[in-house]
C-alpha cells in the first residue's frame, strides 16, 4: 500500500497557508485586510504565503478599486479547491490509520 503521507501536499505545509485556503474554501472571495485579521499575521508574512499559493495556481488574485483605494481580493481556483480537498482527505486517512 502506498504511504498516505505522500498524499499530503507540500504546498500546504504551513499554518498560514492552511488558514488562507480554509478561509477561501468557504467564502467566494476575501480581501487582503479581512484575510489578515482572520489569520492574525503581519502584512509581509501574509503576502509571501499568498504569493506561494498563487504561484502554485491554487488561488487567484483580482485587483480592483473601491473609489480611489486599491482593493485586492483573493479567490480559490478549481485546482486549489481540489488540491486542498485531497490534502484534507490525506490528513484524515493518516489520522485514522494511526488511531
Amino acid at each position: 500500500m502506498k504511504n498516505p503521507i505522500e498524499n499530503l501536499n507540500k504546498t500546504f505545509d504551513s499554518r498560514i497557508r492552511l488558514g488562507i485556503m480554509s478561509a477561501l474554501m468557504v467564502n467566494a472571495s476575501i480581501n487582503f485586510n479581512d484575510l489578515k485579521e482572520l489569520i492574525n499575521v503581519t502584512d509581509g508574512n501574509l503576502a509571501s504565503h499568498i504569493k506561494a499559493l498563487e504561484e502554485s495556481g491554487y488561488i487567484k488574485v483580482q485587483k480592483g478599486f473601491i473609489g480611489r483605494k486599491t482593493n485586492t481580493i483573493y479567490l480559490a481556483t478549481k485546482a486549489g479547491e481540489k488540491a486542498f480537498r485531497n490534502h484534507l482527505d490525506a490528513l484524515e486517512s493518516i489520522i485514522k490509520n494511526m488511531g
Binding site: 478561509a23 482572520l38 494511526m98
Partner: protein, 219 residues
Amino acid sequence: MNDSEKLSSELRDIKQMMERSSRFISLSGLSGISAGICALIGAWLSADVIERNKSAVHHLKRTIENADSILYGDFIHSRLFQIAVVTFIAALVSAFLFTYRRSKKTNVPIWGITARRLIINVIVPMITGGFFLLALIKNGVYGFVAPGCLIFYGLGVLNASKYTLPETRYLGYGEILLGIINLFFIGQGLYFWATGFGLLHIFYGAFMWWKYEMNNERN
C-alpha cells in the same frame, strides 16, 4: 503518537478557520438578555402610558375602526412612538456592548467580513418591514404594526442565522410564529410585543449564554 496529535490539531485549525471566516461567532447570549430586558421595560412604560392616558387609548381604539381620525404626524409625535424609539436604541446599544465584550475575549475582530454579511442580511428584511409598517401607519392601520414588527424581525433573524451561531434561527421562527398568531388577536399587540421582543430574547440569550459562554466565563 506525536505526529497524530499534530495532524489532528491541524485539522481542528482548518475547521475553526472555516467556521471563523464564514460565521460571526462573537454574538453574545447576554446581548439577547439585555435586549429582552430593554423590550420589557419599554412595554411596561407603554402600558403605563396607555393606562394613565385613557383618552389616548380611546383615540387609538377608534382608529382601528375609523382609519382617518388620527393623522400620521400625531402618531409620530406621540409618547408611545418615543418610547419605542428609545427602547430600540437602548436594546441595540446594550446588545452591541455585550457582543463587543465577547469579541474582545475570544480575540476575534468585531468588524470584518462576517459582521458585514450578518448586518446586511438582518437589515434588508428589517428596512423593508420598516417601510411597510410606515405605510400601514400612514393609512391608519395601527393594529397590524405589532404583528408586522414581529414577522419582519423574525424574517431578518432567520435570514441572518446562516451567518452567525446556527441556533439563532429558532429565535427567528419564534418571532415569526408569534407575529402570525398576533395577526388574529389584533389589539393585543403590546402583549405579543413584550413576549416576542422581551421574553423570547431573554430565553434565547440565556440558552446561548449557557451553551457557548458559561464555561468560558469561569476560566
